[in-house]
Chain length 180, copies 2
């Protein structure tokens, strides 16, 4: 979202094939709920392509990149690093601190697939639990973003879309957007 | 969650194998974020088993059931039916109405996998979009539940758990719960 502070989402531990759908959902959730950018660790070219296709159709700005060095991304990130984990501190207790703590640098929200290496817990400025129950990295990311942006992400305007959904009480309406 | 109004989650369109992980995430998200019950349409015994294993370990109450007649569940539901769909009305515009509208009957939150039959749109009392962007039924459900319960679900107490996570700023701590 083009407002301060921006959020990038780092997806760790992607396993090609097996995790394609979950990683795609992580990236699409990041895009839909106000993040600017998804960084996918590992051979995640299939999810990257799907997320870019959606951005081409429904708008951006939203960037997707792959990395073979997620540890370096974590270590070199200049803004706050927020690792979403069921073992972390309750989001309702730390969300205000996270918002207050950031300067002009974007937040990096980190979500794993399966077991996350221990150094991620140590490199994170905040280990945050959206509940301390096992559920879904997609759900944790969604609640984190909605709370971080305090709902403002739902009013985001999209640019360079070719199509848009017209909200309806019943049924489906998608309309093309004509370039001026 | 043991407070009014309860929420049940109906998962439509499960394809065995292919959707196991997504359906499991839907069910675990429902449990973690305050719903009482998940109803899984189709041959979803593998997700059912995983969700029940988590409930046995980390607590309930939470029920999981399978149905071959999701249309009947929808038609016979006595409380409000909320279908989460990218084509629906913005959640920020309708969440207050949904809360105000329910009586003592639980809400049924409906999420699809892939294409949802058109009669679901017609049977729903509310078609609700968590954004009008394509992303994830897990993310949509998570944001819906967090908003519906206004965050109270994060303070839920769990019963009959054998283990609990102790929230930590860094690292992981899971402790057994001893029965008295």
């Amino acid at each position: 979202m083009e407002r301060d502070p921006g959020v990038a989402v780092l997806r760790l531990g992607h396993r090609p094939g097996r995790d394609n759908r979950m990683t795609t959902h992580v990236g699409l959730t990041a895009r839909a709920l106000g993040a600017d950018r998804a960084i996918l660790a590992g051979r995640a070219s299939a999810p990257k392509e799907t997320i870019e296709d959606i951005t081409d159709r429904f708008g951006g700005p939203f960037e997707v990149e792959l990395t073979d060095e997620p540890g370096r991304v974590l270590r070199e990130w200049s803004g706050p690093v927020v690792h979403l984990t069921m073992y972390g501190l309750p989001i309702q207790d730390v969300e205000d601190s996270i918002r207050a703590d950031h300067g002009p640098e974007p937040v990096l929200a980190v979500v794993g697939a399966g077991k996350v290496p221990f150094d991620v817990y140590e490199l994170a400025d905040y280990n945050v639990g959206v509940t301390n129950q096992p559920h879904s990295e997609v759900a944790g990311l969604a609640v984190f973003l909605d709370r971080f942006f305090e709902g403002a992400e739902l009013d985001r305007e999209w640019t360079d879309a070719t199509h848009r959904v017209v909200p309806k009480a019943t049924g489906k309406q998608v309309e093309p957007i004509e370039d001026d």
